[in-house]
């Protein structure tokens, strides 16, 4: 409904508003170092370093040979390797691990950041029957409890695997249907063609902020429309720094004047936890559920 609602308002304003190519000057600035390090539970510790680029460019030069000092749980670790701007440690990230990183690049201020990997919540996802004669739709019960205080938000992603004619399995991201009042509504749309028992479609993912949860528990139903050769559901437990950066980045990139009202556009300053540069250094806990 939100989409229809926005389209209605847009039509009203389109009577007198127009969109043109920007004909003013673009601001210029020198390149800055950008650190991207998402630390997943049970994965290799790694991050990458790149230079930023001109506003209209999408390719980024790697920063090689930076001096990295890393502290894990308060103690320095030395075995940092790097190749083509990717820096990694031969060590696996575990729930509760704390990291601090300092990076020296000649001619630039020292980069500093720190994060921790949140505890794993107790997650259960079960397929359930969905009687929908009009659509090929599937549903799941999602239950999450033991959500620790270091988790700011839970994200839920769904991917659908379908076989091509040559028997290759291809994974596609799908919108998720969910009617939980505990979800953040910012990417929610009313869908009059939703699966039976559902009304709201979440574009790309669902965000459940922890302050929407009751007694730190979440119980809801999810659904999608499409084939069911294979389904992957990810639940990502995010720290506050990841949540703000990810939602900020998504808001930046998802603004679409064909759907959103052009005059509601707001510049999004990415809330970064990198001092001396840009980017993100954040721990997350990721749980994967595969069906069938």
């Amino acid at each position: 409904m939100k989409k229809s609602f926005c389209i209605f308002i847009l039509l009203v304003f389109l009577n007198f508003s127009c969109v043109y190519d920007y004909d003013g000057n673009l601001p210029v600035s020198e390149s800055i170092p950008v650190l991207n390090g998402i630390l997943y539970t049970d994965s290799l510790f790694s991050f990458d370093l790149h230079w930023s680029n001109n506003l209209l460019k999408k390719d980024f030069e790697a920063i090689r040979g930076a001096t990295v000092r890393l502290k894990k749980n308060g103690e320095f670790v030395n075995n940092i390797y790097n190749t083509e701007g990717k820096y990694y440690l031969n060590d696996t990230c575990l729930n509760g691990d704390k990291f601090e990183v300092e990076i020296d690049i000649p001619g630039k201020p020292t980069i500093f950041s720190k994060t921790a990997i949140p505890q794993k919540p107790d997650i259960q996802i079960n397929a359930i029957e969905l009687s929908d004669e009009e659509r090929r739709a599937f549903a799941y019960n999602l239950s999450i409890k033991n959500i620790s205080d270091d988790i700011n938000t839970l994200y839920c992603f769904l991917f659908l695997g379908e076989y091509l004619q040559d028997s290759t399995l291809v994974w596609e991201q799908r919108s998720i249907y969910c009617d939980s009042p505990q979800a953040d509504v910012f990417n929610r749309y009313f869908d009059s063609w939703a699966p039976a028992g559902f009304s709201y479609e979440y574009e790309n993912f669902i965000r459940f902020p922890s302050d929407n949860l009751i007694n730190n528990k979440l119980k809801t139903k999810l659904a999608f429309i499409g084939g069911n050769a294979a389904v992957r559901i990810y639940v990502l437990a995010a720290t506050k720094e990841f949540d703000l950066y990810f939602k900020g980045g998504y808001l930046q990139r998802s603004f679409n004047p064909d759907i959103n009202l052009p005059f509601t556009y707001q510049p999004i300053f990415l809330p970064s936890n990198i001092k001396g540069g840009a980017g993100i250094f954040a721990g997350v806990d990721l749980s994967l559920f595969e069906f069938p």
Binding site: F8, S192, F269
Partner: protein, 768 residues
């Protein structure tokens, strides 16, 4: 320092009182002879002593002190009315109510300051005539008082088409908006494209942007004092207006002739009624719409010439709605906001001729968005909202201290309840949840005293206001000195100066819900400090025949101002507002020009402001000064009115408005940065997250220079009862593509939104 200066000036004024001769008082109210509507700012002048004059106050009350047992010639004048003369020789205080008859109307259709050429103009004060609002070219033909105010010097143009006012470097929430002295917390209909004030019901509009009198307080930057008509006490009349988006009707008349009257004015947008009429959703389907409405109602009653009662009310509302009915379920989504106000006023003139005013009021603002679904197996509702309610009283007394001195004293109190943004979720399948923050209660008591000295070429107002806030806001009373000075060098030329301090205990935070803009009012309490400001200003005025020029310079300093430059509200849930509050400081400096020319056929008004407004927040570039969102350096508006034909019962005239100003500052990214995409291993995504935008600082670039020409033509015909007027016109005549905002699309290209290309309008008005 300020306290000493204040005491010294107070002493000087009182010494002058002591040496005055034996006198009598002439007092009463000045009103319109046809309607009994009271006239503000009429001039009452003693022609036998040119240094002795006064003006009627907001309620038409005046007090003039003249020598007893002496022949005096009193002249009473007001623009658009026939001047009256009284030849008096009085031995005792006398009540004299004056009724002025409408006469030859001067063609003052735009900003007029002063309203009469003989009135002394206080520094920083401007008045707007009814015609300036009513006949200016306007969006959809629906006149907008806020756009008319933006044609005044010192009022920044802000965003194109928006109703928010930015006065001398102040933000939109730093203006005290009063409707019949009751604070108004929401100005916007239709997201600011229109204002909540229905011009059919308005009588006076005064803007104080510097040297604000001590009677006003509670906001940092300006006071917009709007009064509603009282209602015709002589006969029934009214008018009906239809624009391309709304209809308005106003009716007024006597309840008891010459004793009591009423006024009701209502306005409602009508496109949603058409949409609802055309869509039959009884059988299901989606219905979408938007409407706004407002109602002004007022009644008054005079017990006798000295005792008057007034009751007034206002209701305004905006609502977006979407209702979807299907066979097995029904859902709805609504977003709305609105104001409610109600007041009771008692005015009296005491035996000693002092003027007393008692006002009790309630004012509220609420905003919400909600959606719900009802079906056989699901019942869910989700509601977010906030509200503000204010109960208050205002007591004031105005009396004479001699021929040249008037005193004003008053006491104001308020009890404000602010429900911070809250979220209520109900689900039959899950426990209900409410994220509710406690109500914040603010109590304020303010006392003020001011002395107004007026003699010949010299005018002085000194005042002191002190605000006592309840604990948690400010432990100590805040003192606010006010000073206004004027000296007339000769018949045409005068100089003036003023200074003021102000404080503010509430602020408006922008919010974005369901992709729609809006704001919510929040308290300065706990860790959020009370905002304060100082302003000094100086100026000159020149008036000769049909030409007028007014120039003022000012400097303003603001402390503890509230902003959130780094994090847009959409990044947070509205209930987490306190996370994005940032307090800093601001400064503004500028020079305001206002030039006017008024002849019988042609009038014009030129406003030019050169100004600079900077903000500094600890979280933004370690406190470096950055341009404020509404920092518009050069701002020019020319308005003109040309009567093409005026004979018999027909009148035809053209109104025009040309605006040009520097581009507004906006935030643009400076670099493109690599993102951490893919988020999850090597899945295929529906959105591109490979690159993001990096912003270095807010407001780092300006939009292109803005300019636009609006023209309107009006055809008026007198009929047996009243007049009918057709107005047609074009906004943005030469289709200038003024950018409203810049955004980066999903392909990484920068685009600019133009909100107002060339646009016609038509409106119809019929008075009866």
């Amino acid at each position: 320092m300020w306290a000493k200066s204040f005491l010294f000036l107070f002493f000087v004024v009182n010494v002058m009182v002591v040496f005055s001769q034996k006198t009598v008082k002439i007092y009463g109210v000045v009103s319109d002879a046809k309607t009994d509507e009271r006239l503000q700012a009429a001039t009452i002048k003693n022609n036998t002593d040119l240094s002795n004059s006064t003006t009627s106050n907001f309620y038409g009350y005046y007090l003039l002190i003249v020598p007893s047992s002496t022949n005096v010639n009193i002249e009473v004048s007001f623009v658009g009315y026939q001047t009256q003369f009284f030849y008096l020789n009085l031995k005792k205080d006398t009540l004299l109510d004056i009724n002025l008859s409408p006469g030859v109307k001067l063609k003052e259709f735009t900003v007029s300051a002063p309203k009469t050429r003989n009135t002394r103009r206080q520094i920083g004060q401007l008045e707007l005539s009814e015609d300036a609002i009513r006949w200016a070219p306007a969006f959809a033909g629906e006149n907008n008082i806020m756009l008319a105010l933006k044609a005044m010097p010192g009022v920044s143009a802000g965003k194109e088409g928006s109703s928010e006012l930015f006065v001398r470097g102040g933000s939109h929430d730093q203006n005290l908006i009063l409707l019949d002295k009751i604070p108004v917390y929401n100005l916007n209909h239709a997201f600011g494209l229109l204002s909540v004030f229905n011009s059919s019901a308005l009588k006076n509009v005064s803007l104080f942007k510097g040297a604000i009198p001590a009677v006003y307080g509670g906001r940092l930057s300006s006071v917009l004092d709007i009064s509603v008509k009282e209602g015709n006490r002589k006969k029934y009349d009214g008018d009906v207006s239809i624009s391309t988006i709304a209809s308005t009707f106003t009716v007024e008349g006597p309840v008891i002739k010459d004793k009591a009257s009423f006024l009701v004015s209502a306005r409602r947008s009508w496109p949603d009624i058409l949409i609802r009429g055309m869509s039959n959703n009884n059988n299901g389907g989606l219905v979408l719409g938007y409407y706004f409405m407002d109602i002004n109602a007022k009644t008054n009653f005079s017990i006798n010439k000295k005792h008057h009662f007034y009751f007034s009310g206002y209701l305004g509302k905006d609502m977006f709605f979407a209702v979807n009915k299907e066979e097995d379920q029904e859902s709805s989504m609504n977003q709305g906001w609105g104001n409610k106000m109600i007041s009771m006023r008692y005015q009296s003139i005491s035996e000693n001729s002092s003027f007393n005013d008692v006002l009790l009021y309630f004012s509220s603002y609420n905003e919400f968005d909600e959606n719900w679904i009802n079906a056989s197996d699901i019942n869910i509702s989700n509601k977010n909202g906030s509200n503000l309610g204010e109960f208050g009283f205002k007591l004031s007394k105005e009396f004479s201290g001699g021929s040249y001195v008037k005193y004003k004293f008053g006491l104001n109190g308020l009890h404000r309840i602010i429900q911070q943004p809250e979220k209520e979720i109900e689900d039959d399948n899950v426990n209900n949840q409410t994220v509710k923050k406690p109500e914040v209660i603010q109590k304020e008591i303010s006392g003020y005293a001011s002395a107004h000295f007026l003699s010949g070429n010299f005018g002085l107002q000194i005042g002191l206001r002190s605000n006592f806030y309840n604990s948690g806001i400010s432990e100590m009373p805040l003192f606010e000195p006010r000073l206004s000075f004027l000296y007339k060098i000769n018949k045409s030329f005068s100089i003036k100066a003023g200074a003021m301090r102000n404080s503010q205990s509430v602020f408006a935070m922008p919010k974005s819900t369901l992709g729609m803009p809006g704001y919510t009012w929040l308290p300065t309490s706990g860790k959020v400090k009370t905002q304060t400001s100082w302003q000094i200003s100086h100026g000159i005025s020149f008036n000769r025949k049909k030409f007028g020029l007014d120039v003022e310079v000012y400097y303003k300093k603001l402390e503890n101002i509230i902003g959130n430059y780094m994090y847009p509200s959409s990044l947070y849930q509205s209930t987490q507002w306190f996370d994005i509050i940032d307090q800093g400081r601001g400064k503004a400096v500028g020079i305001d020009f206002l030039s006017t020319y008024n002849s019988d056929e042609f009038s014009f008004n030129l406003k030019y402001s050169l100004s600079k407004t900077l903000h500094s927040f600890p979280t933004v570039l370690n406190g470096k000064w950055i341009p404020a969102d509404y920092d518009i350096r050069n701002d020019l508006v020319v308005m003109c009115n040309w009567i093409l034909q005026e004979k018999n019962d027909k009148k035809k005239w053209i109104t025009g408005k040309f605006s040009a100003h520097s581009g507004r500052p906006i935030s643009m990214p400076v670099q493109s940065i690599k993102s951490f995409f893919p988020v999850l291993s090597n899945e295929h995504y529906s959105f591109d997250f490979t690159f993001l935008d990096y912003y270095r600082k807010p407001n780092n670039i300006r939009l292109n220079t803005f300019h636009r020409l609006d023209l309107g033509i009006h055809f008026q015909k007198k009929q047996i009862k009243g007049e009918r007027t057709w107005s047609v016109g074009i906004l943005n005549v030469y289709n200038r593509k003024n950018p409203y905002s810049i955004y980066k699309n999903q392909s990484g290209e920068f685009k600019q939104v133009v909100l107002f290309p060339i646009m016609p309008f038509v409106a119809f008005n019929k008075s009866f």
